[in-house]
């Protein structure tokens, strides 16, 4: 299994993800410049966080038009695991690989803090090894993470079990005070119909070593470990 971490101009969590894949998970992985990315050389791909193209116009929009995303589209169709973290999630949305929209946070400000997210389904490539209902500690850090979809779209997602993560409170329940950005239904991450493309706003790579976690755990690693295959 070989993973590509695609680097767009303005990506800034690329080195962090790469560090976790290489040094923590000991995986075979490459940091790939978006223009040099050839999907057929890899078994899976990570779109890391950051501010691709400065988030100008809208987070993820410009990167979504990069030729690299054509490669990602092919990989997605072939059933290879694709994960978009934060800005990567925004790019997946803007390129149409995942449905809906990520709009400016309700509070209108960037929010950086540790949140709790509940795993809503074990039926995705990235949550296979995690029990449904498990609650993970991970940090968020974004200004445009408010998940929005039209009522039918949202209903469909829910019915198909495509909501993968929800923000929850200390009682493990999605609630207004646990929702850091005003997302509809506290949605923190979703997947495509084939369940191999997952996007989420929290940063698993920042929660992959106990020393970085206020809770001394490595919950994020449970998601990234899926890249072991």
């Amino acid at each position: 299994m070989k993973t590509a971490v695609v680097r767009f101009p303005g990506s800034n969590c690329d080195l962090d993800v790469f560090h976790v894949l290489k040094d923590v998970l000991k995986l075979e992985a490459d940091l790939v410049w978006h223009r040099d990315f050839a999907g057929e050389e890899y078994d899976s791909v990570v779109l890391p966080g950051g501010f691709s193209y400065g988030d100008y116009l809208r987070a993820g929009t410009i990167a979504a038009h990069s030729p690299a995303m054509e490669q990602v589209r092919v990989m997605a169709k072939e059933g290879k695991p694709v994960i978009g973290i934060c800005n990567g999630f925004q790019i997946l949305i803007e390129s149409g690989l995942l449905p809906g929209a990520l709009l400016r946070n309700e509070c209108l400000a960037f929010v950086c803090k540790w949140v709790k997210v509940r795993v809503e389904t074990s039926d995705t490539v990235f949550t296979r090894a995690i029990q449904k209902g498990a609650v993970l500690d991970m940090p968020i850090a974004h200004a445009e993470g408010r998940y929005v979809n039209d009522p039918e779209g949202l209903k469909e997602l829910d019915e198909n079990g495509q909501v993968v993560f929800r923000y929850v409170n200390n009682q493990s329940v999605p609630s207004e005070d646990s929702n850091p950005n005003g997302s509809m239904d506290c949605v923190a991450g979703i997947c495509n119909e084939d369940r191999n493309v997952v996007g989420l706003m929290p940063h698993p790579e920042r929660a992959s070593e106990p020393i970085l976690s206020p809770f001394s755990n490595s919950d994020g690693l449970r998601i990234l470990a899926a890249l072991r295959g």
């Binding site: 101009p9 303005g10 040094d23 223009r35 100008y56 950086c112």
Partner: protein
């Protein structure tokens, strides 16, 4: 020959008559218009440090870990195994005062470049901010936009903003203080210094295109803000963090080729400053062709090309045959132009359309004459010590203190900063007195904090600045670090005024005293003068932000401030005196006019050494230094963080019998720490500390109940933790909400 001219140039010169004469003498002829502009900028306060240079020499700057001291883009220290840390702080007060968002943003942009120039990767940002009272709409506007400017720029460039400080005081109403610092990590063997050592190297201007923006930005920062400067539009730049991110990555990648011999940021003074500083440091000269510069606007004159302060530009010198370097720049989509080469002439020679328009020794530009400044102690500084009024309900007093903006939780601010990116931040904003960043792949970490208390500095600049150094040092010590170096940013009024110059002189002496006492070298700094409002004639309270860097030798020494477990002992290190001058408690009770706590270097040194030993010994479960709000506030912060209660016995706190309970609890005496320790280790901890001649006492215990301070026969404070938390956490969000 048709060379565009800027008519107003001659009129805009800020040089004094004496300086003009000196320039002519050194040049041996009349400088032409362009040269005059260059001299004007380079001899401005901002570029030349003419009022401060001599005094700054007095700060101690050597130490076994110092690799690069003052004089370069940033200081660099050795943290072992060939790893180095570069760090630097800079002010962006003047632009931020008229355009807080972009002013603060471009401040971050500038400080990042200073780290990059040393071939270090920026890994952390810090901000030291001072505003007027949040009751004022203008201050709220400045505050909100400065914070957003820092957030947007830092977040986008992927550098975590890990620590900072904010103070509110009426003296900063018009002239807010925006100081930003950056720390970077690199390797000793690949450091670069921003100097041109090799004649024959080619000079490459990289990044943003040059426009007319910011021509005269520097001279602007060296003047007092007037009504007019509100119209001085081009002086405030628009930040472009996306391009900066590309510049960072491209520069680091280009440096890895080994073909880039030096890098220098283009900030104040633009190309003129970069060319003259780099060549004069290397004892070389340059020959450049101004037409080669990639521009954003048509018809720019040589004067404008040399003095533009357009953002996101950086200068490389590249060994001949550096084609790989250009390939990297193209990969990152960065524009660049080869504008000339390094020579051995010692002169800056610039051509434009085939004609030599500048021919001037670089040393002339970088070595300004030093004006005579007079220091005179102002009459009003030392007012007589008045006694603070007591408050009878101490629970209420504590809550009121916790909701004072200078003490209240700054989460509203640091929530907006990405403080996690880079996966290094072990102790995050709010976790401890300082931020702690690990060195990836090694069992060590660094701690950083920026600090100053302008009330102390105003009341007694010598003592106040000594205290600032001490507090910054204690902050890193409390996280388990040994302070290894510092850098500073001085913010003062108009140095041509003897009273202001006196404050500055005292400040440097006070810092020097404490630095020598603690054996900490100063590896650089920045000075911002003219922070005063012409309309009111009022200067800001003098304040020097101290950035302290500490080294944590093993990761298991990292210590946070949260109380950990009920039943643990609470130990106070250091003595408590009746020192409420300039304190938050005296501000609360309406009395601001007495002397600040006394800074005694030997006392600080002993306390610091004792705490370092105690942490190394594995005896400490939590640590916090006592500063604003005194002992009670420090204890409350630890309780809130740990979500645990405590009971402290006032009688166990070493103090003079004549002190009243509120004086004991809220005095801001320096050289104190609060530690917690397990029952098992309490005895060892106490004997270790006392063995070093430092006062230490077990003053209470951690509990699962309320926050309690008692005496033998009464309860002085009894508060549920939730009440304390509420007072502390909601204060700033409530204040900024008001319209």
């Amino acid at each position: 020959m048709n060379i565009p001219r800027l008519e107003a140039t001659r009129l805009k010169v800020n040089l004094t008559f004496d300086e003009l004469i000196e320039a002519r003498k050194r040049l041996g002829r009349e400088p032409n218009e362009v040269e005059l502009g260059m001299i004007d900028v380079m001899w401005s306060e901002h570029c030349s440090y003419k009022s401060s240079r001599r005094l700054l020499q007095k700060l101690p700057k050597s130490g076994k870990r110092v690799i690069v001291g003052p004089g370069y883009d940033s200081g660099v220290v050795d943290i072992g195994d060939g790893d180095v840390i570069a760090f630097k702080i800079e002010s962006h007060n003047h632009p931020s005062a008229i355009e807080p968002y972009n002013g603060a943003a471009t401040g971050i942009g500038g400080i990042i470049r200073d780290i990059l120039c040393m071939n270090c990767r920026p890994i952390g940002l810090l901000d030291s901010l001072r505003f007027g009272s949040l009751d004022s709409g203008h201050s709220r506007w400045l505050f909100n936009n400065v914070v957003r400017g820092i957030a947007d720029y830092g977040n986008c460039t992927g550098i975590p903003t890990v620590s900072g400080e904010i103070e509110f005081d009426e003296s900063f109403e018009t002239n807010c203080i925006v100081n930003v610092a950056c720390i970077g990590q690199g390797r000793a063997e690949t450091l670069t210094l921003g100097r041109m050592d090799n004649p024959g190297d080619i000079i490459v201007l990289v990044g943003g295109a040059t426009g007319r923006d910011g021509v005269h930005g520097v001279t602007f920062a060296s003047r007092v803000i007037t009504e007019e400067s509100e119209l001085d539009r081009p002086a405030v730049q628009i930040g472009d963090p996306f391009t900066k991110k590309l510049v960072i990555e491209a520069t680091l990648e280009a440096l890895r080729t080994g073909k880039v011999t030096a890098v220098k940021d283009l900030g104040g003074g633009g190309l003129t400053c970069a060319l003259s500083e780099m060549s004069s440091k290397g004892g070389t000269g340059v020959q450049v062709d101004l037409e080669k510069i990639h521009v954003r606007e048509e018809g720019m004159s040589p004067y404008e090309l040399l003095l533009s302060e357009s953002q996101e530009r950086i200068l490389f010198t590249v060994a001949p045959e550096g084609e790989e370097v250009f390939k990297i720049l193209r990969k990152w989509g960065l524009a660049y132009s080869v504008i000339g080469k390094v020579t051995a002439s010692g002169r800056i020679v610039a051509k434009f359309r085939g004609e030599v328009v500048v021919d001037i020794p670089s040393e002339l530009l970088t070595n300004s004459p030093i004006p005579r400044r007079i220091a005179r102690r102002p009459k009003t500084t030392r007012e007589k010590r008045a006694k603070a009024q007591s408050m009878s309900d101490l629970s209420q007093a504590l809550c009121n203190l916790l909701s004072m903006p200078n003490i209240a939780c700054k989460e509203y601010v640091y929530r907006q900063y990405d403080h996690e990116v880079g996966v290094r931040t072990i102790l995050k904003p709010g976790d401890a007195d300082a931020a702690v960043l690990r060195v990836i792949g090694a069992d060590k970490a660094v701690a950083v904090k920026v600090d100053c208390n302008s009330s102390y500095c105003f009341l007694d600049p010598y003592n106040g600045h000594a205290l600032a150094v001490a507090e910054a040092a204690r902050n890193v010590v409390a996280t388990g670090a040994v302070p290894i170096a510092m850098t500073d940013c001085c913010n003062f009024g108009n140095p041509e005024k003897p009273e202001v110059y006196w404050q500055f002189k005292e400040a440097i002496d006070g810092m020097g005293y404490m630095l020598r006492g603690l054996n900490i070298p100063c590896v650089g700094g920045n000075v911002s003068f003219y922070n005063e409002d012409e309309r009111t004639g009022r200067a800001v309270k003098p304040s020097t932000a101290i950035v302290m860097l500490g080294l944590i030798e093993r990761l298991n020494l990292v210590t946070s401030m949260a109380l950990k477990r009920a039943g643990e002992s609470i130990v106070l290190i250091g003595k408590t005196f009746r020192e409420l001058g300039g304190s938050q408690y005296s501000r609360l009770t309406g009395n601001q006019h007495s002397n600040p706590p006394r800074a005694v270097a030997s006392r600080e040194r002993s306390s610091i050494r004792a705490v370092i030993e105690a942490i190394r010994g594995g005896y400490v479960t939590a640590a916090h230094d006592c500063s604003e709000g005194g002992l009670a506030v420090a204890l409350a912060e630890m309780a809130i963080k740990g979500n645990l209660g405590l009971t402290v016995d006032l009688g166990a706190i070493p103090h003079k019998a004549s002190m009243k309970p509120d004086e004991v609890l809220f005095s801001e005496s320096s050289a104190r720490f609060i530690l917690t320790t397990t029952e098992e280790h309490a005895g060892k901890l106490l004997s270790l500390v006392r063995g070093r001649g430092v006062a230490a006492a077990k003053i209470g215990e951690v509990s699962t109940l309320d926050f309690k301070v008692v005496t033998e026969n009464e309860t002085l404070i009894c508060c549920p933790i939730e009440r304390l938390r509420n007072a502390w956490q909601t204060a700033i969000p409530e204040l900024v909400k008001v319209n």
